[in-house]
Amino acid sequence: MRLIAKLDVKPPHVVKPVHFEGLRKMGMPADLARKYYAQGADEIFYIDIVASLYRREILFDGIEATAREIFVPFAVGGGVRSIEDMSRLFHSGADKVVINTHALQDDPGLIDKAARTFGAQSVVINVEAKRWDGWWECYSDCGRERSGKNVLDWVREAEQRGAGELLIQSVDHDGRQDGFDVELIRQVKNAVSIPVVAASGAGNLDHVVALAREARPDAIALASLLHYDKYDIAAVKQKLNDLELRSK
C-alpha cells in the first residue's frame, strides 16, 4: 500500500482547505515536497485546487520547482483541459496527470484521449465525492459544483474510458481530520479493478489503520496529518508494516 503526500496548492502556497473551504497556508510546495520525499513518501500529488474554479491557465513555475528534487512519482492536476495541457505538465516534471472538472462536467472523452496518448498508467481521475442518503455525488471545482453523477457510475465509466488510477476525496471529510469515509472507499474499490488512492480525513494513525484494514485501498493520500507535523510518513509506514497491512 503506497503512502502519498498530497499538496493542495493555491499558488504559490500549499493550503489546507477545511471542508474544501477556509484555506490555511501551510508552506511552499517545493519545500513540503522535499520534506515528505525525505520522510519516505512513495509519491507526491500536487493539485492546484483553484485553477478550474477560476477558469485560469495552469501555472507551471511552481510545478517545475516542486518536481526538481524529488525522485519519486509526481502527479499533477488542477485545471487540466487538453492533451496540450498534459504534454506541458509532463515536460514540467509530472509523471501522471490528475483530471476532474473538465472530464466530469464537459468532456468525458478527454479521459480516452489522455489514456491513448499517454498510457492508462499516467491518467489519474480525481473524484470529489459528496455523501447523500444512500449514494455519493461527484463534485468538481474544489467541492463547489455538483454534477448529478453517481460516484460509483462515474468511476466505472472512467475505468472503461481508460483511466489508470482513481483519487477518491470526500467533500464531507476533507480537512476535518475525523476519519475517512471508509464505506465510500470500500464501495469504489469493489466497483473497479484499477488502483484506488484514498484521501480525505486522516487525523491520526487509527484512522489510517481503520481505512487500510476495512477498505484495502491501493494507496493512501495524506495531507493535514503531515502538514501539522502530527506524524511523519515513516511513522505511518511503520505502523502499517507492524500490522502487515502494507504488503501487496
Binding site: R2, P73, F90, D95, F118, A120, K248
Partner: protein, 201 residues
C-alpha cells in the same frame, strides 16, 4: 569516463524532465536528442517512455527517428525505460498490434494477474545473472513501477518481479542493450545508483 548521455525526446509523451534530472543527479552529462542529426557525439543513449506503445512508435516513425534509434542501440550502450524498454520488443499489443524496434525478441502484452492493473508502486527485482546494471543493488532494493503491459521475453531476462502472484520480466539485457520496466528516475537512491551504474559502464 563516458558520461555524455543522449536522452532521446521523440515527442509529447515522455517524462523527459524527470529522467534528465535523475541522470544529472547520477553524474551524467545529458544531451537531449530531438532529431536524426542529434545522435552523434554522445557515449550512451537513454530511450524513455511514458505513453502508449502505438502512439509512441507512430511518433518515432513520423519524426524519422526509427532507423537512427535502431542504429544507436546497436552501436552504443542503450537503456530503455518503461515504454522505452517495451519498444525494444518485436511487437506491442496496446491499442492494436504495432511493430516495435525488434531488438530483443518478445512481445508486449497486457498484464494478467490477481491484483489491480496498472501495477503502480515500489517493488523488488530479482536479478538474474550478473548484470552490471544492478551492481551494488541487493535483493532488498525497490524500484518504482507504473505500467499495465509487460514485456514477454524468455531469452534476455536480467530481472524478474512479482505482482499479484504473477512473475513478469522487469529487466532485459542483450549485450550493451538494456531495458527496465520500472522507472529508475522515480526510484529514490536505488534508481540513481542504477543510472550511475549505466553511466559508468
Amino acid at each position: 569516463m563516458a558520461r555524455r548521455i543522449g536522452l532521446i525526446d521523440y515527442g509529447s509523451m515522455g517524462n523527459i524532465e524527470s529522467i534528465r534530472r535523475a541522470l544529472s543527479a547520477a553524474g551524467g552529462e545529458v544531451v537531449i536528442i530531438r532529431d536524426a542529426g542529434g545522435f552523434a557525439g554522445v557515449d550512451k543513449y537513454v530511450l524513455p517512455g511514458v505513453g502508449a506503445f502505438h502512439e509512441a512508435m507512430d511518433e518515432i516513425r513520423r519524426k524519422g527517428l526509427e532507423a537512427p534509434i535502431r542504429d544507436a542501440a546497436r552501436s552504443k550502450p542503450t537503456l530503455g525505460i518503461c515504454l522505452g524498454m517495451q519498444m525494444l520488443a518485436s511487437v506491442g499489443h496496446e491499442y492494436g498490434e504495432t511493430p516495435g524496434f525488434d531488438l530483443i525478441d518478445g512481445e508486449v502484452r497486457r498484464m494478467q494477474c490477481k491484483a489491480a492493473v496498472p501495477h503502480i508502486g515500489f517493488n523488488r527485482v530479482q536479478v538474474i545473472g550478473d548484470s552490471p546494471l544492478f551492481r551494488g543493488l541487493g535483493e532488498e532494493a525497490e524500484f518504482y513501477f507504473m505500467h499495465s503491459y509487460e514485456f514477454v521475453n524468455y531469452t534476455d531476462v536480467c530481472g524478474l518481479s512479482t505482482y499479484g502472484q504473477h512473475r513478469f520480466v522487469s529487466a532485459v539485457a542483450r549485450g550493451n542493450l538494456f531495458g527496465v520496466q520500472f522507472h529508475p528516475e522515480k526510484s529514490r537512491e536505488h534508481g540513481i545508483r542504477l543510472l550511475k551504474n549505466f553511466i559508468e559502464l
